[in-house]
């Protein structure tokens, strides 16, 4: 894995980011509605003078290409601009919300991979067994059910029938001044339902994928050899088979990261999780261009970084790829 590989991947990533910024800039402006009118509406109405001063203040009266140039120049210098709505730096708004989103996405990713792989391996052991049938049915259902529907069902279940888990927010507000350990537990408690909701669709995919992958690997000659040599079932499954079967899972995990973030947008909205997804959703309704652009920029960056990490780990896991650029 050479430096040239890394540089090449990074430059692809930068180009991609530039494309994302330009495309988003124009797409957002295609939506009907004037941000100044939204701000004025929120103010309770306004005169033409106030409307004009809002447009002047946020540069909305400048030509679109000038606005694009100002925005790209700002981004290049690390300035994502100020939110039209909150009149605060977009970077600050995102900074307050990126940790909850990362916590949700990473937890869901780990949960789905770990549970999915375990289910897949167990199913692959006996392809015609009960577990295999369960994984197939569960995968089909899990993959077919929309993430927001799962969230709503869980809210209904846990709001009234079994009030064990909190159904909204990330923290009990009355514990905001409690100690670190209490707050960490509180956050973990709030994380259970949104993380499970987000994980379930991918869990189903990983279970199905690892089952298929393991079935293929388990029929290989070297597995038969390992068994003939008297290796235990655990050693065969997890040491010999899983490492090879994990390659496609790793690839899919990287590619799915973007989907996971877009899923997080819905889950955050359903569970009132204070992350970037909810900020994006609210900002779209408010025509808060800089905030929408900032969230999309960060989300794209996370996807680019995730894909880069996938590329690197793929090469780490498969020595045959290390010589290639």
């Amino acid at each position: 894995m050479g430096m040239s590989f890394l540089l090449r991947r990074l430059s692809y990533g930068l180009l991609l980011m530039l494309g994302v910024v330009v495309l988003n800039f124009f797409l957002i402006r295609l939506a009907p509605g004037d941000p100044a009118v939204v701000i004025a509406g929120d103010m309770g109405g306004a005169t033409e003078e106030i409307l004009e001063s809002i447009r002047e203040e946020y540069g909305l009266n400048k030509p679109v290409l000038t606005q694009l140039w100002i925005y790209i120049s700002g981004v290049a210098q690390g300035d994502l601009g100020d939110s039209f709505f909150f009149n605060q730096p977009v970077a600050k708004l995102i900074g307050e919300r990126i940790s909850p989103t990362i916590l949700l996405v990473i937890t869901a990713q780990l949960l789905s991979i770990m549970l999915g792989v375990v289910l897949g391996v167990l199913a692959a052991r006996k392809p015609n067994g009960v577990m295999s049938a369960f994984v197939s049915v569960f995968s089909t259902i899990g993959y077919a059910v929309p993430v927001f529907w799962t969230g709503i069902m869980l809210i209904i279940l846990f709001a009234s029938t079994f009030p064990v888990f909190p159904v909204e927010g990330m923290q009990s507000i009355k514990l905001r001044n409690a100690g670190f350990f209490t707050q960490a537990l509180d956050i973990a408690h709030h994380l259970v339902l949104p993380a499970f909701t987000l994980a379930i669709i991918y869990l189903a995919q990983y279970a199905r994928l690892s089952r298929a992958s393991m079935l293929e690997v388990l029929s290989s000659d070297y597995i038969r050899t390992a068994r003939a040599k008297g290796a235990s079932e655990g050693t065969v499954l997890f040491k010999h088979a899983l490492r090879n079967a994990a390659l496609p899972i790793l690839t899919v995990a990287g590619l799915q990261f973007g989907n996971l973030i877009s899923g997080a947008l819905l889950v955050e909205t359903v569970f009132n999780w204070p992350g970037m997804g909810r900020l994006a959703f609210d900002s779209i309704l408010r025509r808060d261009y800089p905030t929408i652009m900032g969230v999309l920029f960060f989300a794209s960056m996370m996807v680019v970084v995730a894909n880069l990490i996938t590329d690197i780990s793929y090469r780490w896991a498969d020595p045959r790829l290390r010589g290639r650029t």
Binding site: A46, M114, V270, P274, L279
Partner: protein, 518 residues
């Protein structure tokens, strides 16, 4: 699998035990839940309830109002209106300080009122204020260009926050001043944390100028965008108060919670009206007979009793019925389909017509549901009504502000005095294309302008009421819009809370007397 189950179980058990911990001591924290996110916290340059509630806690104002529309001392311990109505003298309380320890002086009052005049969207509030003299640190004399009966009400916490001149007077544009998100006021609570779109945390001002207040240590305003999640928070006591609740399902549901009290008091000053507006410049709707026919077809009783499940009240005119200036002499337009059909025929539309109605997306029960009900109701008078949805507020505001509509549902607040919240909808001079909640109906009647302008300077309450009575009667005849109901705002709160604000401004009033009982 077992390990994972145990881990999840451990987290669940540990965390669920947290809920058993007494959340706060009596007299400590009040959690207010709301669906509305404030842009910032300075009500001097921003109207609306989202900013109004925290702003009224952070900033003190010259006066405050009780539930009988009577002004009460606040930063001004006394006041005197000149006999000719051309000036108001405010005598400020001694010893009031801002949260940074600097004293509140008449300079701050003068600066704040002039800044509000320049920057607040309600231009009529302080339009007649010409100058403010400050003969000494405790006296401010407001000089007017004409008598201004709405002035005292405009000095309420919701409308006239007194800002520290030493912070806001630094030359920056006040509308976008950074201190709007980190405000310093002289109110009962100080800002602890403002997380945009999520939380406003306010803590007790230990040096508040009214001795023994505030009672609470902390007010946390939590923004929960999803109404269902908000209801669950109220039911589970994760939140203690939910003001500005308008959905009948929400109200009926929270009524069942034993620990909660529900009241519809506290909204008289806001005066929220739900109405059907006409584009009077539209070819089909320029004929008053068509507008009257439509008015005769709308059944307010059905809307309030069936669609709103009895939680809302009918509204018969442009001034909220709880206002002293409302008159019941206005044409009621009780449902009369025969009369409506006759009017349509007289106007030359006996064969019917096509119309389109818009509505504000969001408050479904108040807007979309009524628009859909009107579709079936209008068929009875030969109108084929198309309900045009807008994906979001900006789209709707663009259409209505740009006069690109025929009929629209709308929600507009009276804001206490008709000069502040009513005149803007009817004055010819306020037909402003592109400006939402101006006179978007493009209705213009010289007699109405004359009456409103006279009422704006009339200090005698009875004479003023007579002027508004005549205005309302004309509006009843001309029907530039048809008022349907008052928004059924309710406040749900924990029964253990005492002195919940139920005055004319509700929670947009300093909550310095609110406290927890045993």
């Amino acid at each position: 699998m077992k390990l994972m189950t145990r881990l999840l179980g451990a987290v669940a058990i540990s965390a669920s035990s947290l809920t058993a911990v007494p959340a706060f001591a009596e007299g400590g924290t009040l959690v207010i839940a709301t669906t509305q996110a404030p842009r910032h916290l300075n009500g001097a340059v921003q109207s609306g309830i989202a900013t109004g509630v925290p702003s009224a806690q952070i900033f003190a104002s010259p006066l405050r109002y009780d539930e009988n529309w009577e002004p009460q001392p606040y930063l001004a311990e006394s006041w005197e209106m000149a006999a000719d109505g051309m000036s108001l003298t405010l005598n400020l309380v001694a010893g009031a300080t801002f949260h940074d320890g600097k004293p509140v002086t008449s300079e701050d009052v003068a600066f704040s009122i002039m800044a509000t005049k320049e920057n607040h969207p309600f231009k009529s509030m302080f339009a007649p204020v010409e100058a403010i003299e400050t003969p000494d640190a405790q006296t401010a004399i407001i000089r007017l260009s004409q008598p201004h009966p709405a002035l005292l009400l405009a000095l309420s916490p919701a409308l006239a926050p007194i800002m520290p001149k030493h912070i806001y007077g630094d030359g920056q544009d006040i509308k976008s001043h950074p201190a709007n998100s980190t405000p310093i006021g002289s109110g009962p609570f100080m800002l602890d944390e403002f997380k945009a779109g999520e939380l406003v945390a306010l803590k007790k001002n230990p040096d508040f100028f009214i001795e023994g207040r505030p009672k609470l240590d902390e007010i946390l305003i939590r923004i929960i965008k999803d109404p269902s999640a908000l209801l669950i928070a109220m039911e589970n006591s994760d939140a203690d108060m939910y003001p500005f609740m308008a959905g009948s399902q929400e109200i009926r549901r929270l009524e069942k919670a034993e620990h909660l009290e529900i009241t519809d008091e506290g909204y008289a000053g806001i005066g929220p009206i739900n109405w059907l507006a006409f584009n009077t410049k539209s070819e089909k709707l320029s004929d008053v007979r068509v507008r009257q026919a439509i008015a005769y077809a709308v059944d307010r009783d059905f809307v309030t009793k069936a669609l709103h499940r009895g939680v809302s009240q009918q509204q018969r005119g442009p001034i909220i019925e709880s206002s002293p200036y409302f008159t019941d002499a206005i044409a009621p337009y009780d449902v009369d389909l025969d009369k409506a059909n006759a009017l349509m025929a007289d106007a030359g539309f006996g064969d019917g017509m096509d119309l389109t109605i818009d509505y504000i997306p969001g408050p479904k029960e108040q807007q979309q549901s009524i628009a859909e009900y009107l579709k079936s109701q209008f068929k009875k008078i030969g109108i084929n009504l198309t309900v045009r949805a807008a994906p979001d507020f900006p789209t709707w505001a663009g259409r209505v502000g740009g006069h690109d509509f025929e009929l629209t549902m709308d929600i507009v607040f009276n804001w206490g005095d008709p000069v502040i919240g009513v005149h803007r909808t009817y004055l010819c001079s306020n037909i402003r294309k592109g400006v939402i909640w101006s006179n978007t109906q493009q209705y213009c009647n010289e007699k109405v302008d004359e009456l409103l302008n006279a009422a704006a300077v009339e200090l005698d309450t009875d004479k003023r009421a007579a002027l508004y009575k005549e205005f309302q009667e004309i509006i009843g005849q001309d029907v530039p819009l048809y008022t349907i109901n008052a928004l059924p705002y309710h406040t749900a709160y924990d029964k253990k809370l005492k002195n919940v604000p139920t005055g004319i401004w509700g929670t947009m009033h300093p909550m310095d007397t609110v406290e927890w009982s045993e």
